[in-house]
């Protein structure tokens, strides 16, 4: 059987690393991934929230945060977000 990795296995391998979370709307988060559940609700540490507005990017620093998985669109492992990209 061809070696296959499930999507959530990839995320599981990101625990302890920086991750970039892109939401369905104009909002993004970066942080250190501490854990997640089957709904892809995520616990992040040393978080920066980015609100992308027509005027530019507004960032907010957050401590340990539980992010609702409901509005998550994409996850970029190992990335420190829009400022790095």
């Amino acid at each position: 059987m061809a070696s296959q990795i499930l999507p959530l296995e990839l995320i599981d391998r990101c625990i302890g690393s920086r991750i970039w979370v892109v939401m369905k709307n104009d909002r993004e988060f970066t942080g250190t991934l501490l854990g997640f559940d089957d709904f892809v609700n995520m616990v992040l540490e040393d978080v920066t929230e980015y609100e992308i507005t027509p005027k530019g990017r507004k960032s907010t620093k957050l401590a340990q945060t539980l992010l609702n998985g409901n509005n998550i669109c994409m996850l970029v492992p190992g990335s420190d977000g829009p400022e790095q990209a």
């Binding site: 909002r27 501490l34 854990g35 616990v43 957050l62 340990q64 539980l66 992010l67 609702n68």
Partner: protein, 94 residues
């Protein structure tokens, strides 16, 4: 996986670290603490987390409603319906 032998002795598992891991662990640690709850609309609620359930319905005490950085309301207690919640963030060290 074949039959693995039982662990050599019945030592209890080590207690989990105080700040770790899964959403459930986070919520155990954060109940009773000051938190920021941000809704998808961008409105923030700052208060003491009394409890929550599996839908992320939340009960907050000493709640302040913040819109664009200004306090727009205060509630002794507030029930927030979970579908509106974007995140719950610790506002004091865990």
């Amino acid at each position: 996986m074949d039959d693995s032998p039982p662990p050599p002795e019945a030592t209890p598992p080590p207690p989990p670290p105080v700040t770790s891991g899964s959403p459930t662990d986070f919520l155990k640690n954060v109940v009773g603490k000051r938190v920021v709850v941000r809704l998808t609309s961008g409105v923030d609620y700052r208060g003491v987390l009394s409890c929550l359930d599996g839908y992320m319905n939340i009960a907050l005490e000493q709640t302040e409603e913040h819109v664009n950085g200004t306090v727009t309301n205060r509630y002794g207690d507030a029930f927030i319906r979970g579908n509106n919640v974007l995140y719950i963030s610790a506002a004091e060290p865990l």
